[in-house]
Symmetry: C2
Subunit: 145 residues, 2 copies
């Protein structure tokens, strides 16, 4: 997403375009695919808008995420990270420097290929599917009719 498309997303959805939000968008753009966390985004964006508060930063990132403008990534023992890359991709998380690399392929992929293509050596993997279990699906069905 470009800065302009982010801004037009805000307009389209009746969200206000404030200097704080613009500062955060700029940081998001500058950070590329480094998947910054709220604290870094706050620190960088505050340089552009001195009045910016941390809670506004959170509110903004939540709002963007809720509207699908960015994606919130949650990991083990780390603050949440925010991702501009909305395509289906694998996150390669470095356990040492906490860098998160994108590998833009759909989910079903051979780990050996990842190493070969990216130089990232895998020591652990986690696959999680989110959704509804059979029981909850049946309950939802009977509630909604």
């Amino acid at each position: 997403m470009t800065k302009e498309s982010m801004i037009s997303q805000l307009r389209k959805r009746g969200l206000k375009v404030t200097p704080q939000r613009l500062a955060i968008i700029d940081v998001l753009m500058e950070q590329g695919n480094s998947h910054p966390g709220a604290s870094l985004i706050y620190k960088k964006a505050k340089k552009k808008r001195k009045s910016l508060s941390l809670s506004t930063t959170y509110a903004t990132l939540n709002e963007f995420s809720r509207h699908g403008i960015i994606k919130t990534l949650q990991f083990d023992k780390m603050e949440d990270r925010y991702d501009r890359n909305l395509e289906e991709h694998i996150n390669l998380i470095c356990e040492r420097c906490k860098k998160i690399l994108d590998y833009n392929v759909p989910f079903i992929v051979d780990p050996k290929r990842v190493v070969k293509k990216t130089g990232f050596s895998i020591t652990d993997a986690r696959l999680e599917y989110y959704g509804l279990c059979r029981e909850c699906r049946e309950e939802e069905r009977s509630i909604k009719g």
Copy 2:
């Protein structure tokens, strides 16, 4: 893992077999594959050992996890969950009731098959590989020789 094998793991590793730990192990066994969190484990284990504290519960679960006796699972906006199932498997997380089901197949699997076999309907997936990025690998190499 059975209760007995857990206890012998403790002995093997020089960890002490205390009543608190036994209470926690019992809860772990009773909970089967429900992947309880620390708060539930604490609540249940405290019934068996009235003196048990929450911090001991955490210390114990951390110790068990560090020694590979259980596995710590971390998810979005939920407390950590603990898993007795040490085999490679997929976690199916119900977004509604927070139940976590195991599907005992290796990671590379077709989501459609999951639905067919388990009745769990997938709305979102996350795949994460942990390890070392190329740069960190090179750094480690040059440090260690």
